[in-house]
Amino acid sequence: MKPHQLRFIGDREVVELIRERRQGITQKNRVPRALVIVKKASQKWEKVEEDLESLETFRERDYVEALGVDDSGCQGDSADGLAAAGRAVFTFQTIKKADKMAKLASELARTPGKSVKFCAAARRLATDQAGKRGPSIQSKTPTKGKRQYMSTTPYRLRKRLTVTINELGAPSHVELYFEAHSSSKVLTSDRTLQKLQTPMLDQETLMRLLSDDSSSFAGELRQLEEEHEKLFHKWMLQTQLGFSLILYGLGSKRELLEEFRSRMLEGTIHVVVNGFFPSITLKSILNSVTEEVLGYEGSFRNPVDQLNFIIRAFEEDSTLDLYLLIHNIDGQMLRGGRNQQILSQLSTIPGIHLIASIDHLNAPLMWDQTRSCLFNWLWYEVTTFKPYTEETSYENSLLVRQSGALALSSLTHVLRSLTPNARGIFKLLAQFQLENKDNPSYPGLSFQDFYQRCRDAFLVNSNLTLRAQLTEFRDHKLIRNKKGADGVEYLIIPVDAATLSDFLETEDRAT
């Protein structure tokens, strides 16, 4: 870092500087020059960061060495050589330019079959901004980014401050972090998926399209798989000796565990739990143990009681031997502390052997010292690169169009069990909502209004009956209440318009 120079600046120079700045901000044609300044600044940043990084990695080496990572003499240590140090994984976000991704893509595309150095590409692109810009995106965003940089004095002051801090040896990451989060403005283009001609695919087409897409690395994948299958015997042994196994790594581990199950667990009692299943509950897991494995037909007040019952049952009968396979123990529904607590206590029973997999990158945070000690984990890295087909199929991905089939069938099912009057009430609301479907600021139907309409249609005779009816709808999640700005209660059906019209059609056909 260069020491700062102090020099006298004449009034005229200052005035010139200010004028130039003004022009830079107001006139677009000044942009290139300003960008160069920005670039210099950012280069400086990079340098500082590099220095610090090397220092940090050095320190980290110490620690890693202490943990014995670089023991190259030991068997099977090939995996250690490359295992990236934590510093690379857990960094702060740096300032990103909005069109970086497009550039990267074009860079990747331009050199087919060859690897591209990312950082170098980015840097080069930054320098020759005159020429090959991404075709359309460049229009708006760069200027935005730049304005943020040159903003005004506070930023400069801040930068100077951080520079001095850096000289003292304190990390600049904090500053970088706040830099990245300073403006709430989002520097991305405003285009949406509506521009696509095929904006949404539904789940079925997605499956169909992907079914005939085979990976180009079948041989390597098979090799990985065989590598993992060699471990099966060891897994059996270690689970028998009281360890629990946890599998991690990129790729679906479901097939591997299924293979393990079919090959090794033949003839043993075992329970398979799909942790990724969106409505799995701890209760259902415990129930399947007590009801189906232990054959006990009673109910329990709470999971702790049930757990105690299981513990006693296993104590009584020492020949009981149960394998518990949990795909994604970090699943949405099992993540909670209480659930993990019960599961960990379950795994301490000598007759229960647990094998589980995790995928979420923060999954290990579920367990504190006590819990992970109860689990008695042995970690196994099984990277399979298999697609998470089953695991993500439940997820309502934002790119997949909701076909609405489920919502529709639930609507009809519930309504079928209601009185004709109730059905009429609901239809009234649905029709009104459909009439207003083009109105984006449609708040819903107000209660008073609704009551009036229902009375007119001879559906209810008092305020109270309508309220009772609405409670019924609400319990089945058919409608939702919303308080308007004026404090009036509004009612809406939380279903999209297409489904609603489908519903009305089927209703009409039925009557």
Binding site: A66, K96, A102, L104, G113, V186, V271, F300, H360, P364
Partner: protein, 725 residues
């Protein structure tokens, strides 16, 4: 039966003939998939017996270490309610009587170990003092009602079991705990008084059985709060306030398990509540001391033939020091190493006591002999022999067996000498300033395991420091050394060393008797001469010269007898170290007893799942060894799996990612890789398959937790990680 369904997530598989649900014999698992079974069976049984011994040893150790604190706890609990019977009308008694006697046990941050401590404490209490012991955990008690419920079911339910032991089966207590009962302190005290009366009425019969119980008129009710920090303060406060009202009828004693510091009590409880407690503080042994004794009993001993090499020990100790301070986890790591050793090293069947090993060597098959010949350290040993013996060793099985027997015995003797000498060295160096060879014996041991200790800088600096020691210090150290050597069952080789040491000590003793006279004389002679020579010399040059002379003269000065002796002692120590502390790699057949796969152990115990995930994403070549994927650091080829490309692209974005742009970038890359026109989707036209692949990759990233949907802007996702590589 398939294990995927849209309606349930739990699938139970039960073999059809559920009668035959025998445990698979674990030993079979050891064997399966491998050829010779006899060897494997032997190895497994050796593992089992060794592990059982080690486990018993650690448990015994734990008991011994806890003995002191438990004793004081017991006596505290015993005397806490003695006044209840003695002097009812005493004023001080009345003052105290509304205070609940409380023992605050500071246990340290190694929470996983506490479980065992409390288990043995409650067992001990139940055996010797009172049947009414309740253990509470913070996570289970979120309301006062739950606390009371737990206390009541444990205290009252426990005795129900006691009384009708065999007639009623365990289901009874299930119903008991499930029955909605009115849980209050009042009902507890009512019950307690009833049982107390009953027990006094039929005490004659009881007295004959357990006299210790009979003497105590009313056994106290001990409530153990295992982890005080994780209790809700409100719950704790309420519970204490309630129970303080019943303290006159109920002999309650509370035990707080504290992981941090005693201040937490006052942080959790306001003065009004904490004044209801009569707290006595107990400090348990620190876990590092515990570890030291575990290492002493498991590692630094010849009792168990199995040994860890330096790296493995380093890994285990680092996990202990950097992560959890948990002795239990250390022992677990030790167990895993033991298992791995016996599982992966076919020659480990020879890893047993010398007598057993001798018999086993004779039973080795020809294949086993071949295995021995391939062991690197043995090959080195063979090369050193003369050619005749070499041929014999490589061709004659019987000859080999005899030689192996001898070598194994040598290895055993090597260890027998190793540990006493190591302890001696530790004793002498552990009190040096700045601890050049480490404060703890484990540090010294690791250094000794890894290299020739006498070649290290630390060693020479330690000896320099020793060379400056005063006499009484040195004598003290030597005495300690002597005691050390005496106490250990000394092997033959060390008897000589011990005698030599004794001799040194007596010589030091003699030094005391004779030396004073001589030394005084010498001193006087010295003092006089310089003072004389300095007189009358004012010339600077002359002064410098004389000073130089004096310096050289002092250097060449005849050493005092003490110094000579000190030198001899140091030489003696150095000789011992060089002779006995050579690293195990120098011993032939060390592979049989030393476990060296430190990497495996570290990966199993201290894994880095996120690193693995991100390595796979950013550098797929690491896992898929396909030349197409080979690339330099920080880069990726455009033929990589979809998810890797999508991940790489998303790294270039800020907090929010525009899905459309992302898709566009993805399509560009993939099209280029497939040799299609790299120009992107014109007029928003995208190949359906590509679109589907993109969707899959993005939803996989979402599943892994890298992005999540957001409503901040339409068709955007939010990034959840910073940086990345």
């Amino acid at each position: 039966m398939a294990t995927c369904s849209v309606s349930k997530g739990c699938f139970v598989f039960k073999p059809k003939d559920s009668r035959k649900r025998k445990r698979p014999v674990t030993a079979d698992l050891f064997i399966k998939g491998k050829a010779d079974s006899e060897n494997d069976r032997l190895r497994f049984s050796t593992y089992e017996s060794l592990w059982q011994q080690m486990k018993a040893e650690t448990e015994r150790l734990q008991e011994n270490l806890n003995e002191k604190i438990f004793d004081s706890l017991l006596s505290f609990i015993k005397k806490s309610h003695i006044q209840l019977h003695s002097k009812q009308n005493d004023w001080s008694y009345r003052m105290r009587c509304c205070e609940i006697p409380t023992a605050a046990v500071v246990l340290g941050v190694n929470v996983p170990d506490h479980e065992m401590t409390f288990q043995s404490l409650s067992d001990l209490l139940k055996q010797s003092l009172t049947p009414h012991v309740v253990c509470l955990q913070g996570k289970e008690c979120t309301t006062v009602k739950q606390v009371l419920q737990k206390v009541l079911t444990n205290v009252m339910g426990g005795t129900v079991n006691d009384k009708e032991e065999d007639e009623e089966d365990i289901h009874h207590s299930v119903h008991f705990s499930q029955r909605k009962m009115h849980c209050s302190m009042a009902s507890l005290s009512g019950w307690y008084n009833a049982t107390a009366q009953k027990s006094t009425s039929d005490s004659p019969s009881k007295k004959t059985k357990t006299p210790s119980l009979g003497q105590e008129q009313s056994p106290p009710i001990v409530i153990i709060f295992k982890d005080l920090e994780s209790f809700l303060p409100k719950v704790l406060q309420d519970f204490i306030t309630i129970s303080s009202n019943y303290i006159q009828q109920l002999p309650l004693v509370l035990v707080f398990g504290i992981a941090t510091s005693p201040i937490t009590i006052h942080r959790m409880l306001p003065h009004a509540v904490s004044s209801l407690l009569c707290i006595e503080l107990f400090q348990s042994l620190s876990s590092t001391e515990h570890l030291t004794s575990v290492i002493d009993k498991l590692v630094l001993t010849t009792k168990f033939p199995f040994k860890l090499n330096g790296k493995v020990l380093q890994v285990l100790i680092s996990i202990f020091l950097y992560h959890d301070f948990s002795v239990r986890n250390f022992v677990k790591g030790f167990q895993l190493s033991l298992l791995e050793h016996f599982y992966s090293q076919p020659l480990s069947c020879l890893c047993s006591t010398p007598d057993e090993a001798n018999a086993r060597v004779q039973n080795l098959t020809h294949d086993d002999c071949e295995l021995i010949r391939q062991v690197p350290s043995f090959m080195g040993y063979v090369e050193k022999q003369d050619s005749e013996k070499q041929i014999e060793l490589l061709t004659n099985d019987q000859y080999l067996k005899d030689d192996v027997q001898k070598l194994l015995l040598d290895l055993h003797i090597y260890h027998k000498n190793y540990f006493p000498v190591l302890k001696c060295l530790h004793v002498t160096t552990s009190s040096l300033p700045k601890y050049p060879l480490g404060k703890q014996i484990r540090e010294l041991y690791i250094t000794c395991l890894e290299r020739n200790i006498w070649e290290t800088e630390e060693y020479s600096s330690a000896f320099q420091l020793l060379g400056m020691m005063a006499k009484d210090e040195l004598v003290c150290l030597l005495q300690k050394c002597r005691d050390m050597l005496k106490s250990s069952k000394q092997p033959k080789a060390l008897i000589g060393a011990l005698q030599e040491l004794e001799e040194f000590l007596t010589r030091f003793q003699k030094l005391d008797d004779i030396v004073p006279v001589v030394e005084v004389k010498e001193d006087e002679g010295h003092k006089r001469s310089p003072s004389k020579s300095l007189q009358g010399k004012t010339d600077l040059y002359q002064l410098q010269k004389t000073l130089m002379e004096r310096k050289t003269s002092r250097r060449s000065k005849k050493l005092s007898r003490f110094e000579v002796l000190r030198m001899e002692v140091l030489e003696f120590l150095d000789k011992l170290v060089r002779q006995y502390l050579s690293p195990p790699e120098t011993q032939p057949l060390h592979e049989v007893v030393y476990f060296s796969a430190a990497g495996t152990i570290r990966r199993h115990l201290n894994a880095a799942p996120r690193t693995a995930l991100q390595t796979a994403l950013s550098n797929p070549y690491y896992y898929l060894q396909n030349e197409v994927l080979r690339s330099e650091g920080g880069t990726i080829t455009n033929t990589a799996p979809d998810i890797c490309i999508v991940y790489k692209l998303h790294l270039e974005c800020g907090r929010l990612i525009n899905l459309y742009d992302w898709l566009q970038a993805f399509v560009t890359v993939v099209n280029a890789a497939e040799g299609k026109d790299p120009d992107k989707m014109r007029n928003g036209q995208v190949d359906e398959v590509l679109h589907a692949r993109f969707i899959r990759a993005v939803s996989e990233l979402e599943f892994l937790g890298f992005v999540k949907p957001t409503k901040q802007k339409t068709d955007h996702v939010a990034r959840l990680t910073w940086g990345g590589f």
